[in-house]
């Protein structure tokens, strides 16, 4: 008894001193290890998982040539955190910003460096005016595009189409006829869709609408709509909603493999790939990135689906009003520099060259809109086609509208509006509610 009390008496101060020493030692250690890593350029962005590993790898040759190390760190909540970090004075050297709207808010902090002449020339040469405009604010050019993805694909099963004796449609009307034909042949819904994406739920729906606005009303109306000059309540926009509604609000046409119209809201956007792969969903509308989701799925016979024009899954670009009209919607990231350090600028310049695009495209899963890049390097036939479409001078490319609109609309009322529209709210009410986002 006595013994143990005495021991405890000794132990307590000892433990306390130990604790304090540990804490202080930790501080000292971190303090002294600084200074060594001079030539490492820190990049951060929202790209994660395997794509992040590939991005890190695409700098290997560059590091060998120049001695500049590049370290990319992905963060799923990048969009929210980067503004805090930049305002707090702790910006990375380079940020990969996925939305022009977010880029504008970052430029407003005054921390973003203007692009160098070399970068500016590269963008003129390899991308063109439309892309350059998205990285420009108040007449100054800040950020070059990096990778791209093409929206407005319809994923389908070529082998099923062959069984049913149907062809890939060339116009919007043909698509509607095709939908009807499949519905009559199979007796079940021809389309599936998933709008669920945690806090961003509804965004797959905005892509549908944007595609239809671009195809029905043309790029000029689309640009005015993005700028807020054409309101959501405008007949042109309502026309797009009505066209999409012919498919998505029709209980006979959706939601293949899941249930009724309302199940669209509870289905995760990435999960539909599995239903297309196993044949229970004939068609779904999603961007080119869905091709990577198919790697994790299985066909009815238990194999990984083959993505090819004669394989298990493939995609066609959502057709326009008339045959041959090629207006597509794209997404992409912008390389934003926060430091005018020589090494950082070298990395930014490298990222605007076709060499970088080739290095990254070769590692698979992505495409670039860089006209100097070689489409044959893409990891699949599908991605090669996508890249050719993006690079072609005949293609009218427009950036994702919801990414360009102010955040209260583009990532606010527009997303929410799509969800409530699927839930059965009348179109006019939805349009008014989305438009009201501009007043917030």
């Amino acid at each position: 008894m006595r013994n143990s009390t005495r021991r405890r008496r000794l132990l307590a101060p000892l433990a306390f001193a130990g604790v304090a020493a540990l804490a202080l030692a930790g501080c000292a250690e971190t303090g002294s290890s600084g200074g060594a890593s001079g030539a490492t350029v820190q990049i951060s962005g929202g790209i994660t998982g395997g794509e992040a590993d590939a991005l890190n790898k695409s700098f290997d040759q560059f590091t060998k040539d120049t001695g500049i190390k590049v370290k990319y760190t992905g963060d799923k909540s990048f969009e929210g955190n980067i503004v805090t970090k930049v305002t707090g004075g702790s910006a990375p050297d380079i940020a990969i910003v996925p939305q022009p709207g977010l880029l504008k808010s970052l430029i407003d902090t005054g921390e973003v460096q203007e692009a160098s002449d070399t970068v500016s020339k590269n963008v003129d040469k390899y991308w063109g005016e439309d892309w350059k405009n998205y990285g420009t604010a108040d007449g100054k050019f800040y950020a070059a595009p990096m990778l791209a993805n093409l929206k407005g694909y319809v994923w389908y099963s070529p082998s099923q189409f062959a069984d049913w004796g149907v062809e890939v449609p060339k116009t919007w009307d043909e698509l509607l006829t095709l939908t009807k034909t499949i519905q009559e042949k199979t007796g079940s819904a021809p389309w599936c869709a998933g709008f669920a994406s945690d806090a961003a739920s509804g965004w797959p729906g905005t892509d549908w609408i944007e595609d239809l606005v671009l195809r029905q009303s043309g790029p000029d109306v689309y640009d005015d709509w993005v700028a807020g000059k054409v309101k959501f309540t405008d007949p042109e926009i309502k026309k797009a909603f009505d066209a999409v509604g012919e498919i998505l609000l029709n209980p006979d046409y959706v939601n293949a493999g899941y249930g009724d119209v309302k199940s669209i809201n509870s289905t995760a956007f990435g999960d539909v790939a599995a239903k297309v792969a196993d044949g229970s969903c004939p068609m779904t509308h999603q961007a080119s990135f869905l091709s990577s989701n198919f790697l994790e799925t299985k066909t009815k016979s238990g194999e990984t689906p083959k993505i090819a024009p004669d394989g298990d899954v493939y995609a066609f670009v959502l057709p326009g009003e008339e045959e041959g009209q090629l207006s597509v919607e794209a997404g992409g990231e912008f390389v934003t520099a926060f430091s005018d350090d020589e090494n950082v600028q070298k990395v930014v310049e490298f990222m605007s060259t076709p060499e970088f695009a080739n290095a990254r495209v070769k590692l698979g899963g992505v495409v670039s809109a860089n006209k100097g890049a070689d489409p044959s390097l893409a990891s699949s036939e599908f991605l090669t086609e996508t890249m050719k479409t993006l690079q072609s001078d005949d293609t009218t490319v427009r950036f994702d509208a919801s990414d360009l609109m102010p955040a209260t609309v583009g990532s606010g009322s527009f997303w929410k509006g799509m969800v409530s529209w699927i839930d059965g709210t009348p179109t006019d009410d939805v349009l008014a509610a989305i438009q009201a986002g501009y007043d917030n």
Partner: protein, 321 residues
């Protein structure tokens, strides 16, 4: 002091004691009845189903998880450890899950010890050293608990990275740690600051309950504040300290926001890697289930080894006597 006759008080106490005992017995009977047990089991099972589903998913091949629900394993079993292997090695950021696991420990342990070291001293001072404005300062410290962390992020980060200069006089140069590999100082300081109000409050409530006679006796024997604190207060307050340590450790272990904002990219914790594991388009979400169970190991070990403190800690500072 008013005079009350002692037998009266004793009788009253005896009565309440008897009543309390009867109520306790009553409650015990009700809680151990067959119906109550059944209800408890049902609630426990229902409560566990989602976690169990996640656990099963973590052992299923990715392609299976993408197409069918976890309950189909009962009719069509197929299991793999591949998810755990993949989760440990493919981090999705510059770090792998294994590396960030170590980072998490390096963040959570000091971020638990530092606030306790500071708060126990402060709590002692608030409880046993009389000084002017003591209660106002104490209320002020606890009132800071109301300030949401999010409000403090930008100013604190700005202080760390830019330093503090008022009218051209540099008061604090700022840390230049952004490019330093594996520096945790900013995260530790941030966590310590955010933990302080609650830590001081809980420890103060416990330490102020220590009978004054003990401390007076120590003083009579010639003990100074140092001796009183180390020899009396710390050993006596151990249950409260241990319970706060558990709360703080679990909070820091599960924290994503503070670490993402303050840690340099080489020092990011497990939660950050776990969050990024599923990939940009969520194609590999099944890896997250495996990652979640890797990350849960440490909180489970902490909880089970310190369980008795945990239950006691729930009552620390809450009830008297």
């Amino acid at each position: 002091m008013t005079a009350i006759d002692e037998p009266g008080i004793r009788a009253a106490t005896a009565l309440t004691a008897r009543e309390v005992k009867r109520q306790e017995k009553d409650a015990r009977n009700k809680l151990t009845s067959r119906g109550a047990t059944l209800a408890a089991i049902v609630i426990a099972v229902v409560w566990t189903i989602p976690t169990f589903g996640l656990f099963v998913t973590s052992f299923r091949p990715g392609a299976d998880s993408a197409t069918t629900g976890w309950w189909t394993v009962f009719t069509n079993p197929s299991f793999t450890l591949q998810n755990y292997a993949d989760a440990m090695t493919s981090g999705g950021t510059a770090l792998t899950l294994g590396q960030s696991f170590i980072n998490s420990l390096a963040i959570a342990i000091p971020a638990t010890i530092i606030p306790i070291a500071v708060a126990s001293l402060a709590a002692y001072a608030f409880a046993w050293i009389p000084f002017k404005g003591r209660s106002i300062v104490f209320v002020g410290v606890f009132a800071l608990q109301i300030v949401p962390i999010q409000m403090a992020l930008v100013p604190l980060l700005s202080l760390f990275s830019r330093g503090l200069t008022i009218n051209g006089v540099e008061l604090f140069p700022g840390f230049t740690l952004r490019d330093v590999d594996h520096s945790f100082a900013t995260v530790w300081i941030a966590h310590a600051i955010f933990a302080m109000p609650l830590a001081i409050f809980i420890l103060h409530n416990f330490i102020s309950e220590i009978p004054g006679e003990i401390i007076e006796a120590a003083r009579v024997d010639g003990a100074g504040h140092g001796q009183i604190f180390f020899r009396l207060i710390l050993p006596l307050a151990m249950p409260a300290i241990a319970s706060f340590a558990i709360f703080q450790f679990l909070w820091v272990w599960n924290d994503l926001l503070v670490a993402t904002i303050f840690a340099p990219s080489s020092s990011l914790p497990l939660t950050q890697t776990l969050n990024s594991l599923s990939g940009s388009w969520g194609a590999q979400w099944y890896l997250q289930s495996a990652g979640a169970f890797i990350s849960i190991i440490v909180p489970l070990v902490v909880f089970f080894s310190l369980q008795r403190f945990f239950v006691r800690g729930l009552l620390a500072g809450a009830t008297k006597g």
